[in-house]
Symmetry: C2
Subunit: 152 residues, 2 copies
Amino acid sequence: MATPFPLPDPMRRALDLARAAEQAGEVPIGAVVTLDGRIIGEGENRNRRDNDPTAHAEMVAIRAAAAHLKDFRLTGCDLWVTLEPCPMCAGALSHARIARLYYAAADPKGGAIEQGPRLFTQPQCLHRPEVYGGIAETEASALLRDFFLARR
Amino acid sequence: MATPFPLPDPMRRALDLARAAEQAGEVPIGAVVTLDGRIIGEGENRNRRDNDPTAHAEMVAIRAAAAHLKDFRLTGCDLWVTLEPCPMCAGALSHARIARLYYAAADPKGGAIEQGPRLFTQPQCLHRPEVYGGIAETEASALLRDFFLARR
């Protein structure tokens, strides 16, 4: 079932980036950072292409946005991503002071937001974004499922 | 009290990198990645210099080592760092398949290895490095304490 309302533009763009990652042989995950509704950083999974274990979509988008703003904090910025962030990316979101996190599919295997370590609920966590999950969940889940089925 | 045995060379180098970070006005943390005892990647905290919220010493060292090996996995490699890794860096260590983690000072405020979320003990965690803490703890703690005292 498709999402019963028009997708927000940033999530639509994140899905396009996920498809681009798939075309490049990477796990299909995409992310964008917005400020006042405008995209200021984009990323897709690039682990294999860049020989970089840290190059998840969120990390690439955060680094691009920070370079764009010439600031190591993305105060007031939002991040949109097609899959629930892992511990590495959740930690980076917190360090970057991301205001709101919007994600599509939940990740029972690797997610760190609403399952597993639930990093933003840890007493140590210094900055907790607002979290909105499930936007475009159907589309994002289908992309990942098809990718992993094709590789079995 | 100084560590009562000669410091391993990789931790000595990580401490030198931490001091270099301090000279550059960054939080004094350094890290190296070794393979068969040889350093193949180095990093120091570069958040402010690089406008990059992800540029912790461990992340910089991991990315350098992966670029050197032209592989997004650092299988069989060890990481040496002057402070207990945070959730972001612990997640990256796991993604990179680091075999052994050696760290100096514990970090009650931000550490994710032996306190807080204890990421490597989470059932979700797919790869757990062996962990050795407390090497050069005195030297590393003094560096950080002096840095933060000077900035009060």
